[in-house]
Amino acid sequence: MNDESQLPAVIAVDGARKSFGAVKALDGVDFTVAPGQCIGLVGHNGAGKSTLVNVINGGITLDQGTIALAGQNHSSGHSIARARSGGIRCVFQELSLCPNLTVLENVRIAHRTLTGFGWRTRAAKLISAQLDTIFPGHGISAGSVVGDLSIAQRQMVEIATAFSRDSDPVALVILDEPTSSLDASRAHQLIEYVKTFTAEGGAVIFISHILGEILEAAHRVIVMRDGKVVGDRPASEFTVPGLVQAMGSVAAKRQARRETDARASGEAPVVARPQHTDAVAFRAFRGELVGLAGLSGHGQTETLVDLYKSLSSDWRAARDPKAAFVAGDRLIDGIFPIWSILRNMSITVLADWSRRGFVDVAREIGFGGDWKQRIGIRSDDLENPILSLSGGNQQKALFARALGSRAEVVLMDDPMRGVDIGTKQDVYAMLRQEADKGRTFVWYSTEMDEVSVCDRVYVFRDGRIVAELAGDAVSEDAILAASFGERAA
């Protein structure tokens, strides 16, 4: 495959240590990437993956250890500028495009060399060509404003920008959760491109919680736990259960799907939506786990937002809240950025306990401590700012916000983006338990595993429901068929 001994490593990190307060984010990490290699990097939320990435791209300075770029040691002077000129590119988990600018203007930000007369034309050409190469049929115009794109399209633009080449080199591309908002077909296109890119001598670090992708894309897999590298082997020696075990959690058994009896007994649905142009009317019954599937950006999020708005009021707080919402695009729909973790968790339930309009602080603290333990938020103090948490842990706080409320319907907008597999399994179990108690979940997900957990699935295409699958009819094939407009079996 690749002869690692001949060429100098694109990047070599040696004995890296970094602490944030009491938390050891990196605890002695050795890490090398050779040209032409794709490294899969896996680990739980807070295992240190994002910190390692930031060390490599120069955003974080190490407490101890050295970094060598293309064989040259830069232990002290490693910086964002040096990483950039050394050909290191990064696609972040939290998308980092400017929403008020157009696609090509965002490309200009990434490429300093795009200057002078006619840079707009050149930038547009550059990004369109790259998008065509990686994601054929992407449907993104270089002149459109990023804020108008769906989250999946933004992610595609970001990925294409990172791989695009003007006059500066591209030696290593770090993909941090690149497929979290992409549906299966787009994710597959990306993996194919990664293979081509590495075959041409480029290097890639691929971080994902979707382990199947890692095994498909990577030559070598590195497992991190608690700031240390605990496994470093060729991808061919790993299997998904093996990886899960290496990360330190046990693979869950697939839960048997239940036939919902509520429906059979003629009970009224908890949530319903007028049929309009849909092929099937949307209804959800008590105690059901209803999935929304289809390619991403086909109206699932809009449906959830509409449902939520129809179940709550703009003008007065409900005495008995009907619904709670778990955001997927958390910076836009979920997080209150200057608040503490605790305040972010408690905002929805607060109204339940208020006495004469005052906040019950003691109860708020109790609620926070209880959920911190139940859902495993990694922080020594809930008074820390929410943005001090890793992306997955922020998501847990948002889960606690919704699950902790009394709402009988919980609407979830692809909430598992950036959440590690251990937490996912905990949350799945929690959802099941809550559903058994009579709660209803409406769950949009871009991941097939999650959709197949659901009791019933509605498939979306072009903003409308095109199919309803129930019980054993819920399968990857059936969902894909319906998403692409073939008649579902």
């Binding site: 009021s313 003008w315 955001a327 836009i332 209150f336 200057i338 905002i347």
Partner: protein
């Protein structure tokens, strides 16, 4: 330093203290009681209307109430006209002033919500309507306030002006509302991320409407007492409170980006703003130079206090 960064209001008090000392140095300490009382009195009006503006600004980018001066004028004018100098009508006059505030607040939010006009335009347009109403109802008359009310407005308890005590009560209530109440949590949440606030179950329109009403009510309260204090309402009585209400909020450490209020800072900033003008007066500068200096000093304070961590 971290303790200081948690108290951004400290800077406005520090600045006010320095200016107070400099002014007294010039007079040799002779006017210490007079200066302090005058400062407290005039600062009190800025504090009352500034508190309302602070709640509105906390709602997030784009939220501002420019109708404060007109509301003050209309409330003062109509209330004084209704009372006609009769001490028996003090309470009805007060209630009318508050009712004007309620009406203006609801009208402001109706423009913002129903016609989807940005708050800056909506409240500016509203202020023309209110100001015209004030001109129409006043017609150049200057009616003196009832004697008891006038005496109360210029009086003091143990050397502390009554209006300053009133303003203190307003700020304590505002502080409690922001820090301890559900409503406080809600406006702070809306100011940080209005979309997330809606999706977290906060009744966004109700809270925003309530906040514009609160601001207008505080403006009319300020107008009622300012008119009583100055011995009658004048059509331009609110004018200086347009910029003042915004300046004291910003200098006081409230984030213009929303979601982060600062009640004590309003006091520090209001004291500071009055003291700067009286210091420059004491030093005998003419009006033009005074305004230049005021502007420069405000910039100076904001730059000094602006060292707070910017949080995204």
């Amino acid at each position: 330093m971290t303790a200081l960064s948690r108290m951004p209001w400290i800077w406005s008090f520090l600045a006010a203290g320095i200016v107070w000392v400099i002014t007294l140095m010039f007079t040799g300490g002779a006017s210490i009681v007079g200066l302090t009382q005058a400062t407290l009195t005039f600062a009190a009006f800025s504090v009352i209307v500034g508190t309302g503006q602070m709640f509105v600004i906390t709602l997030g980018p784009g939220n501002i109430d420019l109708s404060i001066p007109a509301t003050m004028t209309l409330a003062g004018t109509v209330a004084l006209k209704l009372m006609g100098g009769d001490s028996g009508l003090i309470v009805p006059g007060f209630l009318v002033a508050i009712a004007i505030g309620l009406g203006v607040g609801v009208a402001n939010y109706a423009l913002i919500k129903l016609l989807r006009i940005p708050p800056i335009i909506a409240t500016l347009a509203m202020s023309f309507i209110i100001q015209s109403a004030a001109i129409w109802s006043n017609r150049g008359l200057r009616i003196r306030p009832p004697e008891i009310l006038g005496d109360f407005a210029i009086g003091s308890v143990l050397g502390v002006p009554n209006v300053a005590i009133l303003a203190l009560v307003v700020t304590v209530l505002a502080y409690v509302a922001l820090e301890k109440s559900l409503y406080g949590r809600w406006i702070l949440a809306i100011g940080q991320n209005i979309r997330a606030a809606r999706m977290a179950g906060i009744p966004v329109d109700g809270v925003r409407c309530g906040t514009y009403v609160l601001c207008a009510v505080l403006a009319s309260l300020g107008g009622y007492f300012l008119a009583s204090f100055s011995g009658g309402a004048a059509l331009n009585m609110g004018a200086e409170y347009l910029l003042m209400s915004i300046a004291v909020v910003v200098i006081g450490g409230t984030s213009v980006a929303g979601g982060d209020s600062n009640v004590p800072g309003i006091w520090g900033a209001s004291l500071f703003m009055f003291l700067v003008v009286s210091m420059l007066n004491t030093y005998g500068f003419d009006a033009g130079f005074r305004m230049i200096m005021t502007g420069l000093i405000i910039i100076g304070v904001i730059v000094t206090a602006g060292g707070r961590t910017v949080r995204f």
